[in-house]
Symmetry: C2
Subunit: 220 residues, 2 copies
Amino acid sequence: MRLVIAKCTVDYAGRLAAHLPSAVRLVIVKADGSVSIHADDRAYKPLNWMSPPCSLKEADGVWTVTNKAGEKLIITLEDVHHDSSHELGVDPGLIKDGVEAHLQELLAEQPHWCGEGFRLVRREWPTDIGPVDLMCRDEQDAWIAVEIKRIGTIEAVEQLSRYLERIRQDPAKADCRGVLAATIVKPQARVLAESRGLTWVEVDLAVLRGEREPALTLFL
Amino acid sequence: MRLVIAKCTVDYAGRLAAHLPSAVRLVIVKADGSVSIHADDRAYKPLNWMSPPCSLKEADGVWTVTNKAGEKLIITLEDVHHDSSHELGVDPGLIKDGVEAHLQELLAEQPHWCGEGFRLVRREWPTDIGPVDLMCRDEQDAWIAVEIKRIGTIEAVEQLSRYLERIRQDPAKADCRGVLAATIVKPQARVLAESRGLTWVEVDLAVLRGEREPALTLFL
DNA sequence: ATCTATATTTCGAGG
DNA sequence: CCTCGAAGTATAGAT
């Protein structure tokens, strides 16, 4: 990894055109050849970058970074304050906990949070356009397809609709219902779901984990 | 901006829980207090980060970064290879050209590129699931909803379909047509649009800007 | 190689 | 302040 602090201008030509006027910035060149340019604020997003795979040519204070798609990043160095290189090695990578996969696991164990009397038939129920997260049946043995999301958006309603369209082609499941289960269901997703005759439900991750009692309103 | 190359472990507890095993990484502390941790690959995304505003406490090789929401990032330094600070100043920021907003502006001024005889009724026509980019009428006063995208994908067709579903609930607009306008319309989007009775049109940014003559084929 | 779905998405605009 | 849509989204996984 090479770190350069320098006064520079940057031009990007590719999916759009962008220009950075002259200023002091951090330029990072990583072992995979990727390049990013950072200002002294915002942790996450670089001002400009070129994702790997790409190649860097250095000539006379002008760095030209190109990729296969013909995108081009031109960094013109005017004044180099710092330039150092470091050996980092391969990173063992991030271990995550609490993402959608985890939510699906918990709801598969406790499908009643998706609807009263629901029992799990199987996780990742296959359709010809991909698997539905959960397939359940209720106390009347009626079928229910459940789509699970961390955030329930319009897009999730569309996805569930597409699955149901397929599932209902089987006469035995022509009345299959659909439920969108998410920790947050956006207002517009609620409207769209209801207008399509789908149900939505917000689930509490802490309750699923048994870390918190269900809301009191359930016992009223 | 402070740059530290160090062997470290990192723990994040917030929207999810995440852990980084011991390895050599770059830690960036920016002037706004934000912190990011980078591996030696992937230009864009840090392994871990804390967005501003947040505060950093340093004690005995353990950095604790916290924000208002109670999220916490704990960096345990085991071996510091490099540690330097640099004065960067405020960045003048990125100048972009060619994004969707620009395209919508130009098409609002010249709606005839979306279809013959189109005239603009209003930009951002509201529906209960969000605004349609352009609402137009043609020479027969028929309604047309226009969805504008830089790249026209299946997703754009879905979006336009949802809007039309809403708009057509008004009997006065039951026959409202739909047009997808984009600089590039993907083959799959063309097929889907046509199968739904929607029109698609590719528009040329340079022509809209008056920088280039329309293609000769228009005059055949 | 292409498509699909996720993301601690971030970021910005508009109500 | 929230909500929503765009992003050069990036990135990982499946086909």
